[in-house]
Protein backbone atom coordinates (compact mmCIF):
# COMPACT_ATOMS: atom_id res chain seq x y z
CA UNK A 1 0.00 0.00 0.00
CA UNK A 2 1.00 3.57 -0.66
CA UNK A 3 -0.44 6.54 1.21
CA UNK A 4 -0.24 10.28 0.76
CA UNK A 5 0.14 11.95 4.11
CA UNK A 6 -0.51 15.54 5.07
CA UNK A 7 1.19 16.00 8.41
CA UNK A 8 1.19 19.02 10.73
CA UNK A 9 4.76 20.23 11.22
CA UNK A 10 5.53 22.86 13.81
CA UNK A 11 9.07 23.49 15.04
CA UNK A 12 8.10 24.68 18.52
CA UNK A 13 5.33 26.06 20.73
CA UNK A 14 5.43 29.54 19.25
CA UNK A 15 6.58 28.70 15.73
CA UNK A 16 3.92 28.79 12.99
CA UNK A 17 2.92 25.34 11.80
CA UNK A 18 1.62 23.97 8.51
CA UNK A 19 0.59 20.76 6.80
CA UNK A 20 3.39 19.15 4.80
CA UNK A 21 3.11 16.37 2.23
CA UNK A 22 4.78 12.98 2.70
CA UNK A 23 4.36 9.62 1.05
CA UNK A 24 4.38 6.34 2.90
CA UNK A 25 5.52 3.58 0.56
CA UNK A 26 5.23 -0.18 0.99
CA UNK A 27 2.83 0.08 3.89
CA UNK A 28 1.64 -3.30 5.09
CA UNK A 29 -2.04 -3.56 6.03
CA UNK A 30 -0.93 -5.31 9.22
CA UNK A 31 1.04 -2.32 10.45
CA UNK A 32 -0.40 -0.13 13.13
CA UNK A 33 -0.81 3.52 12.27
CA UNK A 34 2.14 4.45 14.48
CA UNK A 35 4.34 1.77 12.89
CA UNK A 36 3.53 3.32 9.53
CA UNK A 37 4.73 6.69 10.91
CA UNK A 38 7.85 4.99 12.33
CA UNK A 39 8.69 3.81 8.83
CA UNK A 40 8.15 7.30 7.40
CA UNK A 41 10.43 8.67 10.13
CA UNK A 42 13.16 6.11 9.36
CA UNK A 43 13.12 7.35 5.77
CA UNK A 44 13.42 10.95 6.95
CA UNK A 45 16.27 10.16 9.33
CA UNK A 46 18.21 8.35 6.58
CA UNK A 47 17.87 11.46 4.44
CA UNK A 48 19.14 13.56 7.33
CA UNK A 49 15.79 15.29 7.83
CA UNK A 50 13.97 16.10 11.03
CA UNK A 51 11.78 13.16 12.12
CA UNK A 52 8.09 13.84 12.74
CA UNK A 53 7.51 14.16 16.47
CA UNK A 54 4.52 12.26 17.85
CA UNK A 55 3.68 10.74 21.22
CA UNK A 56 3.30 7.07 22.09
CA UNK A 57 4.24 4.75 24.88
CA UNK A 58 2.49 1.45 25.53
CA UNK A 59 1.19 0.95 21.98
CA UNK A 60 -1.43 -1.37 23.37
CA UNK A 61 -4.22 1.08 24.05
CA UNK A 62 -3.83 1.47 27.80
CA UNK A 63 -1.58 4.43 28.58
CA UNK A 64 -3.31 7.28 26.78
CA UNK A 65 -0.13 8.78 25.36
CA UNK A 66 -0.81 8.47 21.64
CA UNK A 67 -2.81 11.39 20.34
CA UNK A 68 -3.42 12.07 16.68
CA UNK A 69 -6.34 13.59 14.86
CA UNK A 70 -6.67 11.58 11.67
CA UNK A 71 -8.76 13.04 8.87
CA UNK A 72 -10.53 15.24 11.38
CA UNK A 73 -11.33 12.55 13.95
CA UNK A 74 -9.43 12.13 17.22
CA UNK A 75 -7.79 8.66 17.30
CA UNK A 76 -8.99 8.01 13.74
CA UNK A 77 -11.98 6.22 12.29
CA UNK A 78 -12.31 3.12 14.49
CA UNK A 79 -14.75 3.22 17.37
CA UNK A 80 -13.35 2.65 20.85
CA UNK A 81 -9.77 2.51 19.56
CA UNK A 82 -6.63 4.49 20.36
CA UNK A 83 -4.50 5.45 17.39
CA UNK A 84 -1.80 2.96 18.45
CA UNK A 85 -4.40 0.22 17.99
CA UNK A 86 -5.58 1.50 14.63
CA UNK A 87 -4.33 -0.60 11.74
CA UNK A 88 -3.49 0.27 8.18
CA UNK A 89 -6.01 -2.22 6.80
CA UNK A 90 -8.55 0.47 7.66
CA UNK A 91 -7.11 2.60 4.83
CA UNK A 92 -7.12 2.20 1.06
CA UNK A 93 -4.16 2.18 -1.28
CA UNK A 94 -3.54 5.66 -2.67
CA UNK A 95 -5.62 7.39 0.02
CA UNK A 96 -4.69 10.84 1.31
CA UNK A 97 -4.62 11.03 5.10
CA UNK A 98 -4.38 14.23 7.13
CA UNK A 99 -2.69 14.02 10.54
CA UNK A 100 -2.92 16.83 13.11
CA UNK A 101 -2.24 17.25 16.82
CA UNK A 102 -4.92 17.67 19.52
CA UNK A 103 -5.90 21.31 19.31
CA UNK A 104 -6.88 23.28 22.40
CA UNK A 105 -5.66 26.38 24.18
CA UNK A 106 -5.06 24.21 27.25
CA UNK A 107 -3.02 21.68 25.19
CA UNK A 108 -0.28 23.79 23.58
CA UNK A 109 1.75 22.15 20.82
CA UNK A 110 5.27 21.21 21.92
CA UNK A 111 6.46 20.09 18.49
CA UNK A 112 4.71 18.74 15.39
CA UNK A 113 2.08 16.31 16.69
CA UNK A 114 3.11 16.39 20.34
CA UNK A 115 1.04 18.49 22.74
CA UNK A 116 1.51 19.33 26.40
CA UNK A 117 -1.29 17.72 28.39
CA UNK A 118 -0.12 18.69 31.86
CA UNK A 119 -3.36 20.67 32.27
CA UNK A 120 -4.96 17.25 32.86
CA UNK A 121 -2.38 16.50 35.54
CA UNK A 122 -3.20 19.77 37.25
CA UNK A 123 -6.91 18.92 37.19
CA UNK A 124 -6.13 15.59 38.86
CA UNK A 125 -3.82 17.31 41.34
CA UNK A 126 -6.66 19.68 42.23
CA UNK A 127 -8.82 16.87 43.59
CA UNK A 128 -8.84 13.73 41.47
CA UNK A 129 -7.44 11.49 44.18
CA UNK A 130 -8.22 9.93 47.56
CA UNK A 131 -5.99 11.23 50.33
CA UNK A 132 -7.54 9.45 53.30
CA UNK A 133 -5.78 6.46 54.73
CA UNK A 134 -7.98 3.49 53.92
CA UNK A 135 -6.01 1.26 56.32
CA UNK A 136 -4.89 -2.31 55.73
CA UNK A 137 -6.78 -4.67 53.47
CA UNK A 138 -9.86 -6.01 55.17
CA UNK A 139 -12.30 -8.69 54.20
CA UNK A 140 -13.78 -7.72 50.84
CA UNK A 141 -17.28 -8.49 52.05
CA UNK A 142 -17.12 -5.91 54.84
CA UNK A 143 -18.06 -3.13 52.47
CA UNK A 144 -20.76 -4.20 50.10
CA UNK A 145 -21.05 -2.29 46.84
CA UNK A 146 -23.90 -3.14 44.49
CA UNK A 147 -22.75 -4.70 41.24
CA UNK A 148 -24.18 -1.95 39.00
CA UNK A 149 -22.45 0.77 41.05
CA UNK A 150 -19.21 -1.16 40.89
CA UNK A 151 -19.58 -1.56 37.13
CA UNK A 152 -20.28 2.14 36.63
CA UNK A 153 -17.23 3.09 38.71
CA UNK A 154 -15.06 0.63 36.81
CA UNK A 155 -16.31 1.87 33.44
CA UNK A 156 -15.39 5.44 34.39
CA UNK A 157 -12.06 4.35 35.79
CA UNK A 158 -11.25 3.02 32.31
CA UNK A 159 -10.43 6.61 31.27
CA UNK A 160 -6.78 6.71 30.18
CA UNK A 161 -6.62 10.52 30.17
CA UNK A 162 -5.58 10.75 26.53
CA UNK A 163 -7.49 13.99 25.91
CA UNK A 164 -9.36 12.84 22.78
CA UNK A 165 -12.55 14.21 24.34
CA UNK A 166 -11.02 17.68 24.43
CA UNK A 167 -9.64 17.29 20.90
CA UNK A 168 -13.04 16.28 19.50
CA UNK A 169 -15.17 18.82 21.36
CA UNK A 170 -16.03 21.98 19.45
CA UNK A 171 -15.51 23.87 22.73
CA UNK A 172 -12.34 21.96 23.68
CA UNK A 173 -14.13 21.04 26.90
CA UNK A 174 -12.59 18.72 29.48
CA UNK A 175 -15.98 17.75 30.92
CA UNK A 176 -15.90 14.10 29.84
CA UNK A 177 -12.42 13.57 31.28
CA UNK A 178 -13.27 15.26 34.59
CA UNK A 179 -16.62 13.56 34.85
CA UNK A 180 -15.04 10.14 34.37
CA UNK A 181 -12.61 10.78 37.23
CA UNK A 182 -15.31 12.30 39.43
CA UNK A 183 -17.74 9.43 38.74
CA UNK A 184 -15.11 6.82 39.40
CA UNK A 185 -14.29 8.26 42.83
CA UNK A 186 -17.71 9.47 43.93
CA UNK A 187 -19.33 6.09 43.33
CA UNK A 188 -16.97 4.21 45.62
CA UNK A 189 -16.76 4.35 49.44
CA UNK A 190 -13.14 5.53 49.49
CA UNK A 191 -14.09 8.61 47.52
CA UNK A 192 -16.86 9.83 49.82
CA UNK A 193 -14.92 12.00 52.29
CA UNK A 194 -13.60 14.33 49.63
CA UNK A 195 -16.56 13.93 47.32
CA UNK A 196 -17.73 17.53 47.27
CA UNK A 197 -14.46 19.39 47.59
CA UNK A 198 -13.17 17.26 44.73
CA UNK A 199 -15.82 18.16 42.21
CA UNK A 200 -15.66 21.93 42.76
CA UNK A 201 -11.86 22.00 42.86
CA UNK A 202 -11.52 20.01 39.63
CA UNK A 203 -14.08 22.10 37.76
CA UNK A 204 -12.44 25.31 39.01
CA UNK A 205 -9.09 24.06 37.79
CA UNK A 206 -10.38 23.04 34.36
CA UNK A 207 -12.08 26.40 33.90
CA UNK A 208 -8.91 28.28 34.78
CA UNK A 209 -6.86 26.13 32.39
CA UNK A 210 -8.91 27.51 29.50
CA UNK A 211 -10.96 24.45 28.55
CA UNK A 212 -14.43 25.27 27.23
CA UNK A 213 -17.88 24.33 28.42
CA UNK A 214 -20.10 21.43 27.26
CA UNK A 215 -22.76 21.70 24.53
CA UNK A 216 -24.00 18.12 24.88
CA UNK A 217 -23.05 17.08 21.37
CA UNK A 218 -21.38 13.90 22.56
CA UNK A 219 -18.50 14.06 20.08
CA UNK A 220 -16.28 13.23 23.08
CA UNK A 221 -18.10 9.99 23.79
CA UNK A 222 -17.93 9.04 20.11
CA UNK A 223 -14.13 9.33 19.95
CA UNK A 224 -13.34 8.06 23.44
CA UNK A 225 -11.15 4.97 23.06
CA UNK A 226 -12.71 3.64 26.26
CA UNK A 227 -16.25 4.57 25.16
CA UNK A 228 -16.95 6.52 28.33
CA UNK A 229 -20.52 7.80 28.06
CA UNK A 230 -21.58 11.42 28.54
CA UNK A 231 -24.02 10.29 31.23
CA UNK A 232 -20.93 10.79 33.42
CA UNK A 233 -21.10 14.50 32.63
CA UNK A 234 -24.66 14.57 33.94
CA UNK A 235 -23.47 12.83 37.09
CA UNK A 236 -20.74 15.46 37.48
CA UNK A 237 -23.42 18.15 37.23
CA UNK A 238 -25.44 16.47 39.98
CA UNK A 239 -22.34 16.14 42.14
CA UNK A 240 -21.56 19.81 41.54
CA UNK A 241 -25.04 20.93 42.55
CA UNK A 242 -24.89 18.81 45.72
CA UNK A 243 -21.44 20.17 46.50
CA UNK A 244 -22.52 23.78 46.13
CA UNK A 245 -25.72 23.26 48.09
CA UNK A 246 -24.01 21.40 50.91
CA UNK A 247 -21.77 24.23 52.00
Amino acid sequence: MRLNLKIWRQAGPTAPGRLEDYTADSVSPDMSFLEMLDVVNEGLIVKGKDAIAFDSDCREGICGTCSLVIDGVAHGPDRGTTVCQLHMRRFKDGETVTIEPWRAKAFPVVKDLVVDRSAFDRIIAAGGFVSINAGGAQDANNILIPKDVCDAAMDSAACIGCGACVAACKNASAHLFMSAKISHLSLLPQGQQERYTRVTAMIDQADSEGFGSCSNEGECEAVCPKEIPISNIARMTREYVMARLSK
Partner: protein, 225 residues
Amino acid sequence: MAPRTGIFSSSVGTKILIGLTGVLLVVYLLIHIAGNMVVFLGPAAFNTYAFTLESNPLLPLVELVLLSWFVIHIYKTVRNFLSNQTARPVAYQKKKSAGHTTRKTFASSTMIFSGLWLFAFLLVHVKAFHDGWGTQYEWPAGGRDLYRQEMETFANPVMVGFYIISMLVVGSHLWHGASSAFQSLGADKPAWTRVILPAGKAIAVLVAGGFIVIALFAHFYGVRS
Protein backbone atom coordinates in the same frame (compact mmCIF):
# COMPACT_ATOMS: atom_id res chain seq x y z
CA MET B 1 -10.78 24.77 49.49
CA ALA B 2 -13.44 27.35 48.82
CA PRO B 3 -14.57 27.51 45.22
CA ARG B 4 -13.07 30.44 43.37
CA THR B 5 -16.24 31.37 41.56
CA GLY B 6 -19.95 31.71 42.14
CA ILE B 7 -22.02 28.64 41.32
CA PHE B 8 -23.34 30.03 38.04
CA SER B 9 -20.07 31.38 36.68
CA SER B 10 -18.32 28.03 36.42
CA SER B 11 -18.60 26.06 33.19
CA VAL B 12 -20.97 23.59 34.86
CA GLY B 13 -23.06 26.28 36.55
CA THR B 14 -23.38 28.11 33.24
CA LYS B 15 -24.72 24.96 31.67
CA ILE B 16 -27.23 24.59 34.46
CA LEU B 17 -28.55 28.13 33.96
CA ILE B 18 -28.74 27.76 30.18
CA GLY B 19 -30.49 24.42 30.54
CA LEU B 20 -32.90 25.69 33.19
CA THR B 21 -33.92 28.82 31.29
CA GLY B 22 -34.05 26.69 28.11
CA VAL B 23 -36.51 24.23 29.66
CA LEU B 24 -38.63 27.03 31.08
CA LEU B 25 -38.77 28.73 27.68
CA VAL B 26 -39.77 25.45 26.05
CA VAL B 27 -42.56 24.97 28.59
CA TYR B 28 -43.67 28.53 27.88
CA LEU B 29 -43.67 27.84 24.13
CA LEU B 30 -45.80 24.72 24.62
CA ILE B 31 -48.36 26.73 26.60
CA HIS B 32 -48.18 29.51 24.03
CA ILE B 33 -48.91 27.17 21.16
CA ALA B 34 -51.72 25.41 23.00
CA GLY B 35 -53.30 28.82 23.63
CA ASN B 36 -52.89 29.90 20.03
CA MET B 37 -54.75 26.84 18.81
CA VAL B 38 -57.90 28.56 20.06
CA VAL B 39 -57.68 30.63 16.87
CA PHE B 40 -59.21 27.65 15.03
CA LEU B 41 -62.38 28.09 17.10
CA GLY B 42 -63.03 31.47 15.52
CA PRO B 43 -62.83 35.17 16.46
CA ALA B 44 -65.14 35.09 19.46
CA ALA B 45 -63.37 32.22 21.21
CA PHE B 46 -59.92 33.60 20.41
CA ASN B 47 -60.65 37.12 21.60
CA THR B 48 -62.31 35.89 24.76
CA TYR B 49 -59.24 33.76 25.47
CA ALA B 50 -56.96 36.73 24.79
CA PHE B 51 -59.09 39.07 26.89
CA THR B 52 -59.07 36.66 29.81
CA LEU B 53 -55.29 36.60 29.65
CA GLU B 54 -54.82 40.32 29.19
CA SER B 55 -57.25 41.33 31.92
CA ASN B 56 -55.46 39.22 34.50
CA PRO B 57 -53.76 41.66 36.90
CA LEU B 58 -50.86 39.24 37.32
CA LEU B 59 -49.99 39.40 33.61
CA PRO B 60 -47.29 42.11 33.92
CA LEU B 61 -45.60 40.03 36.59
CA VAL B 62 -45.72 36.91 34.42
CA GLU B 63 -44.31 38.90 31.52
CA LEU B 64 -41.50 40.17 33.68
CA VAL B 65 -40.60 36.66 34.79
CA LEU B 66 -40.68 35.48 31.19
CA LEU B 67 -38.51 38.39 30.12
CA SER B 68 -35.97 37.51 32.81
CA TRP B 69 -35.72 33.96 31.44
CA PHE B 70 -34.98 35.34 27.99
CA VAL B 71 -32.45 37.82 29.32
CA ILE B 72 -30.61 35.21 31.38
CA HIS B 73 -30.71 32.68 28.54
CA ILE B 74 -29.38 35.14 25.97
CA TYR B 75 -26.77 36.65 28.27
CA LYS B 76 -25.44 33.25 29.34
CA THR B 77 -25.48 31.63 25.91
CA VAL B 78 -23.75 34.55 24.19
CA ARG B 79 -21.05 34.81 26.85
CA ASN B 80 -20.63 31.06 26.87
CA PHE B 81 -20.30 31.00 23.09
CA LEU B 82 -17.66 33.73 23.16
CA SER B 83 -15.59 32.08 25.87
CA ASN B 84 -15.85 28.68 24.16
CA GLN B 85 -14.49 30.30 21.01
CA THR B 86 -11.26 31.08 22.85
CA ALA B 87 -10.73 27.48 23.97
CA ARG B 88 -9.31 26.49 20.57
CA PRO B 89 -7.25 29.35 19.19
CA VAL B 90 -5.78 27.33 16.28
CA ALA B 91 -8.47 25.62 14.22
CA TYR B 92 -8.18 22.15 12.73
CA GLN B 93 -7.27 22.06 9.03
CA LYS B 94 -9.66 19.17 8.72
CA LYS B 95 -12.38 18.36 11.23
CA LYS B 96 -15.32 16.05 10.98
CA SER B 97 -17.91 14.50 13.22
CA ALA B 98 -16.82 11.20 14.68
CA GLY B 99 -20.17 9.58 13.88
CA HIS B 100 -20.73 6.52 16.07
CA THR B 101 -22.77 7.65 19.07
CA THR B 102 -22.58 11.38 18.42
CA ARG B 103 -25.53 13.74 18.93
CA LYS B 104 -23.95 16.42 16.77
CA THR B 105 -26.35 17.68 14.12
CA PHE B 106 -26.74 20.73 11.91
CA ALA B 107 -29.03 22.03 14.65
CA SER B 108 -26.50 21.55 17.45
CA SER B 109 -23.76 23.24 15.42
CA THR B 110 -25.81 26.37 14.77
CA MET B 111 -27.35 27.07 18.18
CA ILE B 112 -25.89 30.55 18.45
CA PHE B 113 -27.18 31.50 14.97
CA SER B 114 -30.64 30.05 15.50
CA GLY B 115 -30.68 31.76 18.91
CA LEU B 116 -29.72 35.16 17.54
CA TRP B 117 -32.29 34.80 14.77
CA LEU B 118 -34.90 34.08 17.43
CA PHE B 119 -33.87 37.20 19.28
CA ALA B 120 -34.48 39.28 16.15
CA PHE B 121 -37.72 37.43 15.54
CA LEU B 122 -38.91 38.21 19.06
CA LEU B 123 -38.51 41.94 18.49
CA VAL B 124 -40.65 41.76 15.33
CA HIS B 125 -43.12 39.40 16.96
CA VAL B 126 -43.72 41.59 20.01
CA LYS B 127 -43.97 44.66 17.82
CA ALA B 128 -46.56 42.96 15.59
CA PHE B 129 -48.80 41.60 18.33
CA HIS B 130 -48.23 43.60 21.47
CA ASP B 131 -48.13 46.90 19.70
CA GLY B 132 -49.56 46.08 16.28
CA TRP B 133 -47.29 48.70 14.72
CA GLY B 134 -49.55 51.28 16.22
CA THR B 135 -52.80 49.90 14.80
CA GLN B 136 -55.11 48.32 17.37
CA TYR B 137 -58.58 46.94 16.72
CA GLU B 138 -61.40 47.00 19.26
CA TRP B 139 -63.45 43.90 20.00
CA PRO B 140 -67.01 44.97 20.84
CA ALA B 141 -67.39 42.45 23.69
CA GLY B 142 -64.28 43.84 25.43
CA GLY B 143 -60.55 43.99 24.88
CA ARG B 144 -58.64 44.02 21.62
CA ASP B 145 -59.61 42.25 18.43
CA LEU B 146 -56.47 40.17 18.37
CA TYR B 147 -58.06 37.74 15.94
CA ARG B 148 -58.24 40.52 13.37
CA GLN B 149 -54.73 41.66 14.31
CA GLU B 150 -53.45 38.18 13.54
CA MET B 151 -55.33 37.89 10.24
CA GLU B 152 -54.14 41.32 9.12
CA THR B 153 -50.56 40.50 10.06
CA PHE B 154 -50.60 37.26 8.13
CA ALA B 155 -52.33 38.74 5.10
CA ASN B 156 -48.87 39.98 4.21
CA PRO B 157 -46.95 37.20 2.40
CA VAL B 158 -43.61 38.68 3.50
CA MET B 159 -44.72 38.34 7.12
CA VAL B 160 -45.89 34.75 6.55
CA GLY B 161 -42.53 33.94 4.96
CA PHE B 162 -40.62 35.50 7.84
CA TYR B 163 -42.70 33.60 10.37
CA ILE B 164 -42.30 30.27 8.59
CA ILE B 165 -38.52 30.70 8.40
CA SER B 166 -38.42 31.74 12.05
CA MET B 167 -40.45 28.72 13.08
CA LEU B 168 -38.09 26.44 11.18
CA VAL B 169 -35.30 28.17 13.10
CA VAL B 170 -37.04 27.59 16.44
CA GLY B 171 -37.54 23.97 15.39
CA SER B 172 -33.83 23.68 14.72
CA HIS B 173 -32.96 25.31 18.07
CA LEU B 174 -35.18 22.84 19.89
CA TRP B 175 -34.15 19.83 17.78
CA HIS B 176 -30.94 19.91 19.80
CA GLY B 177 -31.96 22.16 22.69
CA ALA B 178 -35.06 20.48 24.09
CA SER B 179 -33.26 17.25 24.96
CA SER B 180 -29.89 18.88 25.55
CA ALA B 181 -31.34 20.92 28.39
CA PHE B 182 -32.05 17.75 30.38
CA GLN B 183 -28.47 16.64 29.97
CA SER B 184 -27.35 20.09 31.15
CA LEU B 185 -29.48 19.76 34.24
CA GLY B 186 -27.87 16.45 35.10
CA ALA B 187 -30.72 14.20 34.00
CA ASP B 188 -29.08 11.47 32.00
CA LYS B 189 -29.87 7.93 32.95
CA PRO B 190 -29.88 5.49 30.03
CA ALA B 191 -33.55 4.61 30.54
CA TRP B 192 -34.62 8.27 30.55
CA THR B 193 -32.31 9.34 27.77
CA ARG B 194 -33.87 6.81 25.43
CA VAL B 195 -37.13 8.74 25.88
CA ILE B 196 -35.73 12.28 26.26
CA LEU B 197 -33.80 12.32 22.97
CA PRO B 198 -36.74 11.45 20.66
CA ALA B 199 -39.17 13.45 22.81
CA GLY B 200 -37.01 16.56 22.34
CA LYS B 201 -37.18 16.16 18.58
CA ALA B 202 -40.93 15.58 18.74
CA ILE B 203 -41.35 18.82 20.71
CA ALA B 204 -39.27 20.66 18.10
CA VAL B 205 -41.50 19.41 15.28
CA LEU B 206 -44.66 20.08 17.27
CA VAL B 207 -43.76 23.66 18.13
CA ALA B 208 -42.44 24.59 14.69
CA GLY B 209 -45.22 22.74 12.86
CA GLY B 210 -47.98 24.14 15.06
CA PHE B 211 -47.03 27.78 14.58
CA ILE B 212 -46.49 27.28 10.84
CA VAL B 213 -49.96 25.77 10.45
CA ILE B 214 -51.46 28.76 12.27
CA ALA B 215 -49.61 31.26 10.06
CA LEU B 216 -50.69 29.41 6.88
CA PHE B 217 -54.27 29.11 8.12
CA ALA B 218 -54.39 32.83 8.83
CA HIS B 219 -52.96 33.63 5.43
CA PHE B 220 -55.15 31.40 3.29
CA TYR B 221 -58.36 30.93 5.24
CA GLY B 222 -58.37 33.87 7.63
CA VAL B 223 -61.60 35.89 7.55
CA ARG B 224 -60.72 39.54 7.21
CA SER B 225 -63.22 42.27 7.74
